[in-house]
Symmetry: C2
Subunit: 233 residues, 2 copies
Amino acid sequence: MTAPQFQTWQSVQEEVLRRIHAREWKPGDLIPNEADLSREFGCARTTVNRALRALAESGLLERRRKAGTRVALQPVAKATLHIAALRNEVEERNQKYDYRLIERALAVPPPAISTCMKTPFTTELLHIHALHLADRQPYALENRWINVTAVPAALDEPFKDISSNEWLLENVPFTNGDISFFALSASDLVARHLACQTGDALLSFDRVTWDGANMITKVCITYRPDHHLRTSL
Amino acid sequence: MTAPQFQTWQSVQEEVLRRIHAREWKPGDLIPNEADLSREFGCARTTVNRALRALAESGLLERRRKAGTRVALQPVAKATLHIAALRNEVEERNQKYDYRLIERALAVPPPAISTCMKTPFTTELLHIHALHLADRQPYALENRWINVTAVPAALDEPFKDISSNEWLLENVPFTNGDISFFALSASDLVARHLACQTGDALLSFDRVTWDGANMITKVCITYRPDHHLRTSL
DNA sequence: CAGTGGTCTAGACCACAGG
DNA sequence: CTGTGGTCTAGACCACTGG
């Protein structure tokens, strides 16, 4: 018997990757089922399943009951961005983190915000405007609206020494969120805070988080110019 | 016996999520080990393992041998962006996809590209400049350099009817890639192709892919104004 | 209907790292 | 050294779905 032995799911995964890469199994091809592979590899089907499932989660395989497992035609690149708190982001660059509150006010938001927060147009929300710094230079601008109906405790927090970001993480549970990345042209106000030129192209993202049916907060983070958000495949 | 029965890893996961959410287990807390939980839940340890492993992969738990499992203090939001081929991106919006080649030439790239591709400064690369359209409107601009040493077959492909994107996916295997998102201010040239104003803020990303030690290609995709890249938590 | 992946079980051994 | 998670096994049943 010349069949090689694959005793760990990682080694099975490597072998499958090798075959895909060597074009033994081409994009779109049906590959053998788990039972056959487990016999060929001399391991339990569970082990094969673990390996194939991981590859399917990463988008390289497509699996369907009865239909079997195929090599993905278009390996959808799943780029996982790690959106940590800004403090961590800065500290991971070995830079000194600072936080400065610009404004904290209870106010009726623009209609676009009310719509997004699913609150009546006349309902006041807590508005936080703050700057995050790295090595004393502006790093990112935070523009946040908090639903005080869902998070009344926020009314007692000055957000002077702790960013709303960190306070919310520690104090308010949430179940879901949506993120949207886009490019923004710096307004005069934004340019002044980030110490850049009006009209500069800035990477930004909106994040809306909620807890069950309760909208918690909507935040817009705008990075200083030339900021890159990196990830690997 | 009042202990509820949890027979699937999903139900175990839901119960764990409920306890975290209800602050029965707070951020930073050590939770019971797998053996104890499996007894409490009335299921096999494997099932608990599956549930906790999934939560750890999503960043909500932190697990270490011997140290046990803790609720993450800073649940690093892992935003997974699905970077499909542009054709798929457009078609998923139920829009008509078109592709137009702007330029295809063998040329010595700028030093920045050579450095990134790890080729000598004097080595010629295949340069592809193309436009992707949605419902006949400019959607994204593609600016690509292909390492013809690693991919000689690219020299025989006109890229007139098929985008380099799709051709490479079908014909060239790769093992790794880096992606970097940023905001770009539209140059005159870019503005003309994307039918926008010079200076508009545009969302872009660079992607470098390689196969083992061979650099394959570097591409820069620049989206039309107001493009949003969305994902959920 | 039948073949495929999805999952559960009970038990076992192992690798790692905290104390 | 010892407790913890990581994994493997063999077998079983189930859920989905293609033909």
